[in-house]
Symmetry: C2
Subunit: 477 residues, 2 copies
């Protein structure tokens, strides 16, 4: 009977499966890996949404398509996608294509398992443990716990959840209604996930007390102390401080030692959101930026950012040196997460680390700092660039001052006109596909560019290109 | 100067990058795809944790390794991992390897972007919209909203968060403290993520009212009505019912029409956790199991389960036919998620759907039902198998009754001895690597096997093998 046969899909035909996958892999190598990382190619092929919809023919229909059509679709998907591995992709806190990490990701996908138990993920259960141990060692902890989470926002939420559970174990069962109002503290430069997390966890955004940051973007410990006092005076119970190592826009590092002192005095959980800056711990030269991180109770660190391990790779690390687990293992039997199935996020990082060693990864971090410094010094030599501040990390924030605005700093509409430059240049660079740099207003400052120097394939020539290209794109403004 | 050159890693050498990736891909094709799905090969290669640690040499060291060593590591990772694509992997609610979905996953990894904005994910922003539209259409909605989440547990949490926000928009800012005690309702057969989610969201597990299920595992609407009355009498405010379409163990479908009637009478948000059973909507023959789902406010559906799209692929769908968005877009500017960066989870499903069409996917679902039925009927012909119940889905739950226990049903220790059989057989099958089937106790029932008939490469011959293999493994018991 027909039902006893495998379905007439490729799944029953190993030769056809292999042929399809080899053909797709060929397209990936040519289009995404070779062209996608070549400076002779565009970083993006801009299309307006309506035109792109037509080109992609996204509709899902009743009938399936031929292998030839499917391969065409694969090509189109890659062609019109942004090449985040391209050296001229300066837009996000990740850039570049690490071949070992990509190899790890392809193996992960081919094995398609879930990180539940040793039974169905024996290799990855042991590997995750080892990778987390290594990350903790870099933080400065010889023991502890941790987990890979689906992104830094969720890592931060876990930390908040654990801190409130440690303070009020009852709240897992009874909820927040029976508790006094809780207060957590973070600076105005922190990632917006702290606010979102407070809402999601039922604390409400009002529970987030915003601490002042100085002109460099660093939390002011004296204001933290003051805010704690104010919260207590209002009847709230402070329970957590979230410091940031590497803020999103300015790349600022909060003064962890001074913040840890405050936390110690008040008995507060110290969480460090090092999603962006955590990888600096690999650099003997620069890890002082995170001095004091070993005093944290929890650390969020995303190797998918500066280490280019690939999305998603976000670790929540816990100091947890007590004998007893401080989270409730009764409900979370065996796993420590609010997820059930959980992707394997350790292999890509492990394989890259095996190939590079600590030393190779350290060189990358150091090189990123060197190139960011080179970019800053070159900007100072050119009249069209005005730094927002001297960077301490690899976020380089600056205004491009077009010819018509140079020397007009005293003009009353200077800042308003300057603020309109970045959006125009961004549109031009994206439509040409020559590079991608993000911009944003920030506090009282009008729109400025933020170049993220993260791609390990970058050279000084790419920095020169960036400056020349901005001058070229903005010469008529 | 040395710093102006690219680092001496592969990243600067396109030829070496391509050679490495082609070599790794060759290993993936041979080991994970060909051998990993061949019934002449083992489904797993069992090692005790300590031995496996030695074999894998997991430690991350200062020095990097050669390409030859890295390729050996890739081989070892695959060798000792469980082959979830193998036809004899019956262990989880996912099994099989769809080549088009895998192709989509490899492209996703090679493009490594985040689903934030049209600017950096133009193809995937449009594609996600289209895929979600298609899934909503299958639910029965011509409009609405949705998002891909990192797994069904988080999809369920989103639903609870949205429902409480709809009822009390203030709680986002002010938290749960100022609200009356809230109550949500789900059956005792529901997924444990509802309890976990209530804890994580600050509601507390006490807010979850457990509704009775009948002997088939289906929620009893009369008891739901009764529980709502009880909660109200205690001063709690009911706000959500989470019904399940396809429970984890028994594969039961809650009676959605009757539950929707109750929700309508009481003005409650109806969430349907169809993480497992949602894919049945593709089948004209079987979609009646979800009759009434179009009356839900939200639906969680994981195409990474029965459709084998690959982990993770979990959609939260929202009916949301109102003009105004019912979630607060002020805080979540532009995105609708508690994540910041978010993986691309739509391409693998889209590409598979393009290749198969609705028709191809429908055939798979129907075939899984046919094979589950075949397995049940064959069990009835053999004396060593006792069904827990007639399945209505592709979860086939049964005891293997070994020769020494046959005809001893009246013996006082029968159930205790029967309960010990599945763990012994599981150990034997895993150590031989011949197949993997999960088991669990459930309610008052002792350990029984749950075969999940999900792999689209299965045939009747695999079902026969499963029965023969259990008889062989248990012949001496």
């Amino acid at each position: 009977m027909a039902d006893s046969e495998a379905l007439p899909s490729l799944a029953g035909d190993p030769v056809a499966v292999e042929a399809l996958l080899r053909a797709v892999f060929g397209v990936v190598v040519d289009e995404a890996i070779q062209k996608g990382t070549s400076v002779s190619q565009k970083v993006c092929e801009w299309k307006e949404p309506e035109e792109l919809k037509q080109l992609l023919d996204l509709e899902l229909r009743s009938q399936g398509e031929s292998q030839k059509q499917i391969l065409e679709r694969c090509r189109a998907v890659i062609r019109y996608s942004v090449k985040t591995g391209h050296p001229r992709f300066f837009n996000q806190l990740f850039s570049g294509l690490d071949p070992h990490a990509l190899a790890g990701r392809i193996i992960t996908e081919s094995l398609n398992t879930s990180q539940y138990t040793y039974e169905i993920a024996p290799v990855f259960v042991l590997m995750e443990e080892e990778v987390l141990r290594k990350l903790r060692a870099l933080v400065g902890w010889s023991s502890g716990d941790g987990i890979f989470c689906p992104g830094g926002s969720i890592s931060n939420m876990y930390a908040v959840n654990l801190a409130r559970y440690q303070r009020y174990p009852d709240c897992k069962q009874r909820g927040l209604r029976t508790l006094p109002p809780l207060a957590l503290f973070t600076s105005k430069e922190c990632h917006y996930s702290i606010q979102k997390g407070a809402a999601f966890l039922g604390l409400g955004t009002d529970s987030v007390r915003v601490v002042k940051a100085d002109e460099r973007g660093k939390m002011v410990p004296e204001d933290l102390e003051r805010q704690i006092g104010m919260a207590e005076a209002e009847g709230a119970v402070p329970f957590l401080v979230s410091a940031t190592s590497g803020t999103t826009v300015l790349g600022a590092f909060d003064p962890l030692e001074a913040i840890a002192d405050v936390c110690q005095r008040h008995g507060l959980w110290l969480h460090v959101d090092a999603a962006w800056g955590g990888s600096v711990l690999l650099s003997q030269t620069h890890r002082h930026l995170l001095d004091g991180i070993q005093r944290a109770d929890s650390v969020a660190w995303n190797p998918h950012k500066l280490l280019a391990a690939g999305l998603q790779c976000s670790a929540l690390l816990l100091q947890d040196t007590s004998q007893d687990k401080f989270y409730d293992v009764a409900l979370d039997t065996g796993d420590k997460v609010v997820q059930c199935g959980r992707r394997v996020d350790c292999l890509k990082l492990w394989l890259m680390w095996k190939a590079q060693g600590d030393q190779g990864l350290e060189r990358r971090i150091d090189q990123a700092f060197v190139l960011a410094r080179y970019l800053v010094e070159e900007m100072k030599k050119r009249e069209g660039f005005e730094l927002v501040m001297e960077p301490e990390f690899v976020n380089v924030c600056f205004w491009f001052v077009p010819p018509s605005l140079r020397g007009k700093q005293e003009s009353p509409d200077y800042h308003e006109r300057l603020s309109k430059v970045a959006p125009v240049l961004k549109e031009r660079m994206v439509k040409e596909g020559s590079m991608m740099i993000g911009y944003q207003p920030h506090g009282t400052r009008g729109n400025f560019f933020r170049v993220v120097v993260a791609n390990s394939a970058l050279t000084c020539a790419d920095m020169d290109f960036l400056l020349n290209e901005l001058e070229r794109l903005g010469q008529d403004l």
